[in-house]
Symmetry: C2
Subunit: 131 residues, 2 copies
DNA sequence: CTTATTATTGCAACACAGTCGCAATAGTAT
DNA sequence: ATACTATTGCGACTGTGTTGCAATAATAAG
């Protein structure tokens, strides 16, 4: 089977399937570390990052930057393959560390001539469970 | 003169005044590195961070987290000393690196029981000058 | 099934951001 | 001038995320 001219398709490995199902099982966005702790098998840190970056490239996962500067990854739910925008906020609880998607899509008007490529909205505080 | 019971007032030093005026001169948010490069005198990295953190504590400056996970600092303009909220977006140009405040204040509704402590909104892309 | 191709992995090394302890320095009040 | 202590520089440290390289393993082809 042919794929894009210069590259083969993604390969299905133990690491990729486990990371993917971990993200599916979680209802929230996870850091590389949270993922690593959930995995049944041992997977190298670098590999986890590479897998996640691939997932993002392929549009299966979106990346969130916390107010702590760290990356969190969440499965894409209702994503158009075409118009792949994740303009929604996330909430990170400073107590339990959970990072949730807030679902409502936001629209931000930019000054004339500005081109948006990436959206990152995050509110941190204390979640209902921890309050 | 008395200040809060356990701590002396802030002291005016060459570092603090220079960093402050650098932020005033800049129309945009700056990283610790951008600041360091602008300074006339040499100031240690750790000191710059400490000064900036103090400015944030005192509510003179607000902190922005880029989609690159890095911190940027901008002077507070029209800030109430009481209700000190910076619920506006920022735009970071991936080409020239400039980080601008988008001024319009945003309101985000959180699920019941959630308490917001911090807002970070950032859109990255290409600015009008670089487009 | 066997073989060839090459995507994926583990490991080590790296770059960088941001923090912190400690001793030296320098504002500020008296 | 002196005492007090906030601030600084330095070095060391933690943690995140990336990358080069050689070994491994998924997949297609025969
Ligand atoms: Mn999300
Ligand atoms: Mn701002
Ligand atoms: Zn919580
Ligand atoms: Zn630009």
């Amino acid at each position: 089977m042919q794929h894009s001219r210069n590259s083969m398709a993604r390969r299905k490995t133990e690491s990729t399937t486990q990371i993917l199902s971990t993200l599916k099982a979680a209802s929230s966005a996870m850091s590389h570390q949270m993922i690593q702790e959930e995995l049944d098998i041992e997977v190298d840190r670098a590999t986890i990052y590479r897998v996640l970056n691939r997932f993002c490239e392929d549009g299966m996962v979106h990346r969130v930057i916390g107010e702590n500067g760290k990356q969190y990854f969440a499965l894409c739910e209702g994503c158009e393959k075409e118009n792949h925008s994740h303009n929604h906020f996330h909430f990170r609880c400073k107590n339990c560390g959970k990072v949730e998607c807030l679902s409502r899509e936001i629209e931000i008007k930019l000054p004339a001539g500005y081109v948006a490529q990436n959206f990152n909205g995050l509110i941190s505080g204390v979640c209902a469970q921890c309050a």
